[in-house]
């Protein structure tokens, strides 16, 4: 595997997370609880694939060995993917899907807000553009968490269970990694040290509005997306997503 530098790793973390989250949304096609949600999920998914493409294009330029955005998306194996563990988790019911979406949106929202100030202009530009989209995503998923949490007895129970199901993967959203710290120290990125507190504060606020229990911060446990140590769910997702590029390696689509 090419040895990526720290900034490339960071770009892949952003790109892979957006792509895998979008892939899970694609699985809902024709299966959403209402037509409005078919549109809503596809809309969010479209934004995210677009964001992934922007991050990948920049990453490909940096790697500079002839790779491109499509190769990064469709030709890397599981252990090379850097997406958050959260987004690769199965969709479960609509509550689990919304819990994943909300936790991810809150992370993206605060991260992109910080990244707007990056001295790396390319990152600042992508962040600025993406943030407009993500602001809407977060509003939507916040509303759904509140609706389901403070809706009926059944929806409340499902939403509590959903938060419990995916919560343990949120430690990654609360963790400033060495990569980020090094990039901040070298002045490429602004400090991301406040991200955990910002994320937790948004989550706390919304879960409270939704009459849901805020769990204690999740703690890190072996799985580690930064090192490509994923849960077992990513492998089969990639087998499906990458099928055509793998089966027809010399094809142009």
């Amino acid at each position: 595997m090419t040895n990526y530098d720290e900034l490339t790793e960071f770009l892949l973390r952003l790109g892979d997370s957006a792509l895998i989250q979008a892939q899970r949304l694609c699985e809902w096609t024709g299966r959403a609880p209402a037509l409005e949600e078919e549109m809503g999920m596809m809309n969010v998914g479209l934004d995210l694939v677009g964001q992934a493409r922007n991050w990948y294009e920049y990453a490909a330029e940096r790697i500079n060995d002839g790779t491109d955005a499509d190769a990064l998306a469709f030709r890397r194996d599981e252990r090379a993917f850097r997406n958050l563990l959260l987004v690769e988790q199965p969709n479960g019911d609509f509550a689990v899907t919304m819990a994943k979406q909300f936790f991810y949106d809150a992370w993206q929202f605060h991260l992109l807000t910080l990244l707007k100030q990056a001295s790396d202009e390319r990152i600042a530009a992508i962040a600025t553009k993406s943030l407009k989209e993500v602001t809407y995503h977060l509003r939507r998923s916040t509303q759904w968490v509140e609706r389901l949490g403070d809706g009926t007895q059944e929806s409340h129970e499902r939403m509590e269970k959903a938060v419990d199901t995916v919560w343990r993967f949120t430690y990654e959203l609360m963790e400033e990694g060495d990569t980020e710290r090094a990039l901040s120290a070298s002045g490429i990125l602004p400090s991301l040290a406040t991200l955990p507190e910002l994320w937790r504060s948004t989550v706390k606020h919304t879960l409270s509005n939704a009459t849901l229990t805020l769990p204690e911060p999740a703690s890190s446990f072996y799985l580690n997306a930064r090192a490509g140590v994923h849960s077992e769910h990513l492998g089969t997702l990639l087998a499906e997503m990458q099928f055509l590029q793998r089966a027809y390696p010399d094809a142009s689509w």
């Binding site: 096609t29 078919e38 809309n43 509140e146 009926t152």
Partner: protein, 310 residues
């Protein structure tokens, strides 16, 4: 009666009928049936594409397909809204779909078996839909006409995109990809022609619909138009259609074509097509499995309203 006369005079004068205007009960019913079928088709039509959206080969193709699926959900929404202006209820009409009492376009009961199907569906299926729908932009019922204007615009875009998928595979693809394109056309050609419905001779409701300007052309006229505009595009692709009788008729100024297997059409219509059962089951599971979500949304809105009132 005089109302009926005034109604027909408006129709004849190309004045749109609006929701609050008087209309014959049969006009209303015919429109509800037609618009709801159209809406159902948009929604069921997402499923064969859903089969490949998780396997789209590049980011660009994935974005295009996702955008198309999103548009279809949107079309479903406008069309159900247009239908509701006629006093119909969306949930009731959807229930008819699920219980097999309402139809949707038969083409969506065919499976999508390779990536080229995503191109061929855009090119042929959206293409046929557009030929059907362009005249409906001038249909006599106002809300339907306006919905059609928007739908047609987006579907033309989908059609060009679908064609471009195929053209790219034929021009830049390897042999396996070219085979996919021809295979997709082979499978989708006849079902696309069936999308225009039975021949005029076997289409009993057509005359009244034409008089009311709900329809503006006969099934056979539209089918011929579709074939005439599609074959030159087919030739640019360098592909063929599975019809040995297809040839240009200089005298008629149209393409002649072979006999359509209407048996297959009626079998699929009756529910015995290759994917009818899966399609309806998926939709039923979506709506029934999502009931708790919709109930929660209503309960939450009620709570908020009560809090605001307190």
């Amino acid at each position: 009666g005089p109302e009926e006369r005034a109604f027909q005079e408006k129709i004849d004068a190309e004045i749109k009928i609006e929701p609050k205007n008087w209309m014959p009960e049969n006009y209303r019913k015919t429109l509800i049936r037609q618009i709801s079928q159209h809406a159902h088709s948009e929604i069921v039509g997402m499923l064969p594409e859903g089969n490949w959206v998780t396997r789209a080969p590049t980011l660009k193709r994935k974005l295009q397909l996702m955008a198309k699926i999103q548009d279809e959900a949107g079309h479903g929404l406008y069309l159900y809204s247009a239908m509701e202006t006629l006093g119909a209820d969306r949930d009731e009409e959807i229930e008819k779909l699920h219980s097999g009492r309402a139809k949707y376009s038969s083409i969506f009961n065919y499976p999508t078996l390779n990536w080229a199907d995503m191109g061929a569906v855009g090119w042929l299926v959206d293409g046929a839909a557009i030929v059907n729908q362009v005249p409906l932009q001038r249909t006599s019922y106002g809300p339907y006409s306006r919905a059609m204007i928007r739908v047609c615009k987006e579907e033309s875009f989908h059609q060009r995109q679908g064609y471009e998928i195929l053209l790219h595979m034929m021009r830049h693809g390897n042999q396996a990809q070219k085979d996919m394109v021809q295979d997709a056309i082979n499978r989708l050609w006849w079902p696309s022609l069936m999308m225009f419905g039975p021949s005029d001779a076997d289409s009993p409701n057509s005359a009244q619909s034409l008089a009311w300007k709900i329809k503006r052309h006969t099934n056979d006229e539209l089918r011929q138009r579709f074939i005439d505009q599609t074959i030159p595009q087919l030739e640019i692709l360098g592909c063929t259609v599975p019809d040995p009788d297809l040839k240009w008729n200089e005298e008629r100024g149209h393409y002649d074509f072979g006999a359509i297997q209407w048996d297959e059409f009626y079998e699929v219509l009756k529910g015995n097509g290759p994917c009818n059962r899966e399609r309806i089951e998926t939709r039923k599971n979506a709506i029934e499995g999502g009931a708790w979500v919709r109930e929660a949304a209503i309960a939450h809105a009620n709570k908020k309203q009560q809090q605001a009132a307190a």
